[in-house]
Amino acid sequence: MADVKLSGVHKYYGNVHAVRGVDLTITDGEFAVLVGPSGCGKSTLLRTIAGLEDPDSGAIAIGGAVVNDLRPRERNIAMVFQNYALYPYLTVNENIAFGLRARKTPEIEIRKRVSEAAEMLGIGNLLQRYPRQLSGGQRQRVAIGRAIVRKADLFLFDEPLSNLDAQLRDEMRAEIKRLHHEITTTMIYVTHDQIEAMTLADRIVLLRDGKIEQQGAPLELFEQPRTGFVAGFLGSPSINLIPATLKTDGPVAAVVFQSGGELKLPSAKAMSLAGAQGREILVGIRPQHFSRAGGGPLRNGVVSYSAVADLIQPTGTRTFTTIKIGGVDAVAELQAHDVRSHGERIDLAIDLNRVVLIDPVSGVVIA
């Protein structure tokens, strides 16, 4: 069991500045997910924690001790790799026992731990097989088994599910989450998949270009993004960003679209916008905040909007409908039967209580 503390970590690969000053504290027993687009430095950061890369500056502490000068094997961590990293010439049993043998664990103890882990992961019947005789999901389980028998202080995962097909990925995701409940070791998990991040994390650390863009609980990041990047990265389908101009008049504020039309903002939002008259902004509205207008009185902060349905993508439970708003395409997530045909005019309600207003130049959320 251990906490992890990074301070001022930088990493260069030649001219590429892969990690640019990361300060991060992960508490004991936490499930932290490093997420961000491909190439943002997630793997580099994880490998730096593992000791597979040396940082160019900054300190890494595990369990309160600075480990910069320790080799990977001296850090007592276990790591699961994207391609499973199973030894093809060893059986499943030998693969799982590999780390224990390397540490000269007594054979009796090895046998006990391997069968415990195999039990936990449901691979007890595969122990005598070779990796090539396993399916992708089984290989993934073996790789996880190899990590958990180690009883390490810290678990690192680098995109462990990205090679699995969609259904298996959902299954394994749930299994990893359950695993964390059972063994409660600190885990750091890297993924580029925002759904994985949202579903697994106690805390999401969103990276962008080698820096932490924002970190916090999944719903905190989702509901209170600090930048347009965070708002756009989390959520599926992603948030609609519509260019507009602010119109403020005392306690009342509205966004005016360049193509005409305006939406009145709820008073809570309007309060923080005093004096921003005429400011250019991007209006961020999540697809989930659209609904079919019921005809009754609208709740506070909800406005009505009439649009023509363009693309209609039913998913079974919800139907993603593309409409025009402020001159740009936006996706509204409606109930399955809310919209029937292309070209149909629909009356929508937009919940603006959770709208995000973004400065188009700096990308910072202003309200």
């Binding site: 597979l52 080799r71 094997r73 790799f81 590999f98 390397a102 540490r103």
Partner: protein, 279 residues
């Protein structure tokens, strides 16, 4: 397997193929066959006109002579020199290759430079080497020959093994490092099992190189460590050739390579084709 009735045309093509393969095999095996037969013949039978396809009786006197006169020591010399030198070249070369492949030692070009050493025509360097060997008293010694064959085989081993090692997924090594192995253990427990077919194939070739070398052995040996190919030349006389000895010695000299290749066959095919894909 179920024997299905082939269409006549396909059957004819298949038959032709087997015929072709049979002819080629016969053609290639004939000299080997002839060599074996001569080694079992008496002098009369060797010079018999018309040539005899099969000796009257299998007799080993030609071999007996080689053992009695101590000629077979040349085979032993070759065995020692070839196995020790390729053993050393394999160990050192694989470690060098690991360093080139994983730590980028020497940058982009060192590997290329190393293999270019192998392009030098041996005849161009044999006399300078001879002079150096005379100076250091290395002529006609095991050490001298082993040193030379090791030096000549190293570039080849480094080049081949670098290719095989580059193909080992880095994750396997990193996983082992995290799991508690040090670098040497990683090489022994992860890299070695992964490159074993390539290593086997490479060692057959290094062994064969030292085994077959004639030029250096001729120039650098006198009486003490005469190797098998040099010994063989002693049987070609100005007046007459000792065909019986030549044949028997050649058979003995072919055996180690034959054994090596048959034992390693499984690895050879995989090793060579591995290299062929990535190279």
């Amino acid at each position: 397997m179920r024997v299905s009735k082939l269409p006549a045309r396909k059957a004819r093509i298949l038959a032709l193929r087997y015929l072709g393969a049979g002819v080629v095999t016969l053609l290639f095996l004939f000299p080997v066959y002839w060599l074996f037969m001569i080694s079992f013949k008496t002098p009369d039978e060797i010079y018999h006109v018309p040539p005899l396809w099969i000796p009257g009786q299998i007799q080993f006197s030609n071999y007996y002579v080689l053992f009695k006169d101590g000629d077979v020591l040349a085979i032993l010399n070759s065995l020692i020199v070839a196995s020790v030198s390729s053993g050393i070249a394999i160990v050192l070369g694989t470690l060098c290759a690991y360093s080139l492949a994983r730590f980028g030692t020497g940058g982009e070009n060192l590997a290329m430079w190393i293999i270019s050493q192998r392009m030098i025509p041996p005849i161009a360097v044999v006399f300078p080497i001879f002079l150096i060997y005379v100076y250091f008293g290395l002529v006609d010694s095991y050490f001298g020959l082993i040193l030379l064959y090791t030096a000549f085989n190293l570039p080849y081993v480094i080049w081949m093994m670098r290719g095989y090692i580059v193909d080992v997924p880095l994750e396997l090594e990193e996983s082992a490092l995290v799991d508690g192995l040090n670098r040497w253990e990683v090489i022994w427990k992860v890299v070695f099992p992964m490159v074993r077919p390539g290593l086997m194939a490479t060692s057959v070739f290094t062994f064969a190189f030292a085994w077959n070398d004639f030029l250096f052995a001729l120039v650098l040996t006198r009486t003490e460590v005469i190797t098998f190919p040099v010994m063989l030349t002693h049987y070609f006389g100005g007046q007459s050739n000792f065909w019986a000895k030549i044949a028997a010695m050649s058979v003995l000299g072919t055996l180690p390579i034959f054994v090596a290749v048959s034992v390693m066959q499984r690895y050879l095919v995989r090793g060579i084709s591995l290299g062929a894909v990535k190279g």
